[in-house]
């Protein structure tokens, strides 16, 4: 696992009811007992940690938030987009 994944798992653990649970990239977010408000806090924490903005709406089912791995992929791609748009500007 890369640095981004480690940091994201650390953020998830902070918001889990049972932080001792095993978390892998394949773990579905639904198994982490995270509620909607916790998810908003997690997204905020991820944005703050990586200096990015994640378009996320609690009213919609979002594929990017299905598993831990899909969150990591989404964050990695937003980091890449942010970097390239920064380079262009």
């Amino acid at each position: 696992m890369d640095d981004v994944a480690d940091k994201i798992i650390e953020i998830l653990r902070k918001n889990m009811k049972d932080p001792s649970k095993t978390v892998t990239l394949e773990t579905p977010l639904s198994e982490l007992e995270i509620e909607s408000l916790d998810l908003a806090v997690i997204v905020f924490d991820i944005e703050d940690t990586f200096g990015i903005e994640i378009p996320y709406n609690a009213n919609e089912e979002v594929e990017a938030f299905a598993t831990v791995g899909s969150v990591v992929d989404r964050v990695n791609s937003i980091i890449a987009e942010t970097k390239s748009s920064g380079a262009a500007a």
Partner: protein, 412 residues
């Protein structure tokens, strides 16, 4: 008859609104009938760095035109909206003001707000922390406090009885109206002004709401399959309430009777509403008004267009109404005026009173593709003529704080 079952009756003798559809009940009501939507791109502050750029802002509100009192002209916008809506309600009621000494202590004023003068606070923090000013404007504190709207209105009309602000997020106005209703019914006062005002649209508050991830970037589409969140708005909704005999004696216009009030708390979750709490509040309001579900012709739903609220509210209505749920007309007028937060219940109470007065059910705008799980009659797109004797107005706030009001026709 003064009493029903030995009880003092409470009537509505005036109402007033400030809304994104315009200022004044007639403008508001004609907007609702026309299915007009007051949600637009934000104009009052810079939306740079925000991905939510729409809101229900009050158009063309000029304190110099809409207000008479100088103290109110210096107040926060939320108090100005309250003062303007209260003036409309008081004028309509033909009550002589300032209220006579004899009646002053028998009058109440409960005007709440979800957050009070938040924009005043944001501005003063900006001055202090960003612009390094050495002091804030001397009126900052008086503008910011959540009781300033009720204080201003009490001063304006000489109300000397129970006067304060009341807070319950998006149920604030309904709780305030219900509170005045109970005070009149129980004999503490004979008349009172109840409602709420909100003017918290600013960059910081939008940023905070945006972080909760419950706002829609496109619009407020209650009960729709594609609903994707609520839209912030501002305004005020105020009722003039009076004991029936008192109103009759002075020949006041009687718009409706406030028949019942229910209030409960979910005691469960800050954001996820419970069917139990909502349906208990509806049941309590029905019992208080001595009506059965089949008597209710119209429900002005809380209908915020969040994924969870609309489904929960539908289920609560179904649970309490049973088969009668299929015959009641429902709409969420938030689809047009947006979510006016603390003021919402007051504005929607005015819509309910107008629905009774005009025998007309306003629509749920934008409801072209209903959620299959929200399968009641939400009066999609177009409003309709219908005999409306009894109308219910629901408010279900963050924190699980519920308030339900039931209005009926003027006593015969």
């Amino acid at each position: 008859m003064t009493k029903t079952n030995g009880r003092r009756r409470v009537v509505v003798t005036g109402h007033g609104v400030v809304t994104p559809l315009g200022t004044g009940v007639e403008k508001f009501w004609s907007g609702l009938k026309a299915g007009k939507v007051g949600i637009r791109e934000v104009e009052s502050f810079d939306t740079q760095d925000l991905y939510i750029t729409i809101a229900g802002e009050v158009p063309d509100f000029d304190p110099k035109v809409h207000l008479k009192s100088r103290p109110l002209m210096l107040a926060d916008k939320y108090s100005q909206y309250a003062g303007c809506a209260a003036a409309e309600a008081v004028e309509m009621s033909k009550l002589e003001t300032p209220i006579s000494d004899k009646e002053a202590y028998r009058s109440a004023c409960v005007i709440g707000s979800g957050v009070g003068g938040l924009t005043t606070l944001e501005f003063s923090y900006k001055m202090l922390f960003q612009e390094n000013k050495r002091a804030t404007h001397p009126l900052t504190l008086l503008k910011a406090i959540g009781s300033s709207a009720s204080a201003h209105v009490s001063i304006e009309y000489g109300i000397k009885g129970p006067t304060y602000g009341l807070v319950s997020a998006c149920s604030t106005a309904s709780h305030s109206i219900g509170n005045v209703y109970r005070m009149i019914r129980e004999g503490l006062v004979d008349l009172g002004i109840g409602g709420a005002a909100e003017a918290s649209l600013n960059w910081g508050a939008t940023r905070a709401w945006q972080a909760m991830r419950v706002l829609s970037p496109d619009g407020l589409f209650p009960f729709s399959k594609n609903r994707n969140g609520t839209v912030l708005a501002e305004g005020a909704g105020i009722l003039m309430l009076e004991e029936y005999e008192h109103a009759k004696e002075r020949g006041a216009p009687i718009l409706a009777e406030l028949k019942g009030y229910g209030m409960t708390a979910d005691a469960a979750d800050m954001v996820n509403p419970s069917i139990d709490g909502a349906s208990a509040a509806i049941e309590m309001a029905l019992a208080d008004s001595d009506l059965s579900p089949s008597d209710i012709d119209y429900i002005n739903a809380h209908g915020t267009a969040t994924a969870v609220n609309d489904l929960n509210e539908t289920r609560a209505i179904k649970r309490v109404f049973g088969n009668a749920a299929n015959n009641v007309s429902i709409s969420s007028t938030k689809s047009m005026h947006g979510h006016c937060l603390g003021a919402g219940g007051g504005i929607e109470a005015v819509a309910a009173v107008k629905a009774i007065g005009e025998n007309y059910v306003p629509p749920t705008a934008g409801l072209t593709d209903p959620d299959p799980e929200c399968d009641l009659d939400y009066t999609p797109i177009h409003g309709k003529d219908r005999e409306v004797n009894y109308a219910m107005s629901n408010s279900f706030a963050f924190g699980g704080l519920n308030a339900v009001l039931i209005f009926g026709p003027p006593p015969a």
